[in-house]
């Protein structure tokens, strides 16, 4: 994570890096986002890159996370059940789409590369968890939730299955499947 506001050069360099990485990810997936390739395309030297990120996965996480944030806006259907079910459907659709594989590969990379894990967490998981926690809190406030169930538990039960399918591909990620999963999970989580 970058220094605050040193030379403006740093900032420009970082932007170039993230932008180049975004392009490379789009073109060839994580495999194409080599440090050399990022350096070449961004015009930022490898030494500088390594000054700001610990590994290529970290860069990819930051670059990809930026655009994913807005890709899945929180729903507001009026009911907790509706909101959460819709959110499961949206995340499922995202996973099934073209960015799904990239996300899966980044997630996988973060397992192998511990240095990148904080980046993955920061740019993907934490933001998402916070957003859904908000939904959950709404439900709690409305009294729709069974007592004693933390937001963390709820999130894992709702989205863990999607992650599971995304990684192993043992079952499809269609809207119907998403609804089945969310229905079962929400039956256990809500009143």
């Amino acid at each position: 994570m970058p220094d605050k506001a040193t030379h403006p050069r740093s900032l420009r360099a970082q932007d170039s890096v993230l932008c180049a990485t975004k392009e490379l990810l789009a073109e060839g997936g994580p495999a194409a986002a080599t440090v050399d390739a990022i350096s070449a395309r961004s015009g930022v030297s490898k030494a500088t890159i390594y000054k700001h990120w610990p590994s290529r996965t970290a860069i990819a996480a930051e670059a990809f996370g930026r655009e994913m944030a807005a890709a899945i806006p929180l729903p507001d259907t009026g009911s907790a059940r509706g909101d959460l079910a819709e959110q499961v459907r949206r995340v499922s659709r995202f996973y099934a789409g073209p960015h799904g594989r990239v996300f899966a590969q980044l997630l996988a990379a973060s397992v192998t590369d511990p240095q990148a894990a904080p980046y993955i967490r920061e740019y993907f998981l934490d933001a998402r968890r916070a957003a859904v926690s908000e939904l959950w809190q709404r439900a709690v406030d409305r009294g729709e939730v069974k007592p004693g169930i933390s937001a963390a538990t709820a999130i894992d039960v709702l989205f863990g299955p999607l992650i599971f399918r995304l990684l192993t591909g043992h079952a499809p990620l269609t809207a119907e499947e998403a609804d089945q999963l969310s229905a079962a999970a929400l039956d256990g989580l809500l009143r």
Copy 2:
């Protein structure tokens, strides 16, 4: 996947490879199980290794899967709810233990390496899913299950959260956490 009963030489070579890989995995995790290292330790040439497996991840999956199979026996507590909850606890304990990280890394590797995915599926997922499906069927037979819920859905809702936590490490995998997750999930799955 090799032919059945060709030359005995094949079998010896394959055994050597799997055994050497098992050792390397134990010593240094998947990162240590390079094809070169496996070749050196097993005395099997790289060419031969590549004749039998498409990638190092595939070898690791087979080698590791062999010993994992018996590591988590199916429980039989008398009730579906008890059986499934206990199984979630056991799997959770396995993930939290020393083999957990190896398993996580193999799972992650299979995302990056499509050639290895079938091996991961064969040696880890399919066997496990079949075993738990059996548990589920017992529950169905006893009439303890809500109607319209497939084994696949049940498995994903029960174990997806564990996989999620294993990969991202955002929450612990203690017995208590496992119980919370299984309780929430089973409330949604069973009557």
Copy 3:
């Protein structure tokens, strides 16, 4: 070199090998005539091949030598000078032609591979030297030769330059060049 007259199978096998090798040489040069390729195309197993030849170069030498023998018939112009000059021209033309490179590569291979050297000698050099020695003897008998010059010396002075050029390619192998070389050499060899 093969056993005398064992099973006819051997003979068929050897013919197949030589024929396949000839084809491979024509298609891709010596580089394509690997033992595996020869085995595959000829239907003769590698073990059998190694029973009859010590190395792939040896096979190639035998296969290629067979057809080269008749490619350069001895001239008979009536005079020693004419015969020898014509022979130099013919050999030069052969070297410059499509077979030249193959011959060069075989000759080169025989330097690296001592086991193949006898084959190269038998199928290329000896036969050629004997043939030209005959020409030389004719010249001696006619009294056209300076005294004290052996056939070996004559052959080397006449054809060594061609070999030199064939190998290093530092100068062309045209008819004019051949004539210049043979003229200079023959001035030193004949009266």
Copy 4:
């Protein structure tokens, strides 16, 4: 062929490579001068080696050529005939000596490996030809040469036979043999 004066690192690396190669050639001939071996002994990585040379033969040519240059100084006996005959004797002695086989194998390798041919030419042939051309020019200036004979022709007729014998080993490379060959050749070349 490397750039002139880039980083001094390049120079150090290249020197290490050539030095290690020289040693390996001396110890085990061209067969021992593997790229891996050169890399291991010189401490220069394979990638770097391949950045500077196209093939192992090229490295060997450069390494070996460096020391061969001074090994055969040009003679100056006062007469063209004497100089050239002496030079043939010296080259012959070199070929017959311990370096002869290495030279032969490099020459052979350059036939198989076109990428290395320029290196062979640069480090062996061109320098030698230039040196002998000088001798030849002296002879021309002294009027000892028959008219119409180019240096190239003279060189080939004089040294081609030696190359021929070096490669095929069909005749010895003693001083007497060298004298016979040079005598015959010079009779044809000089007045």
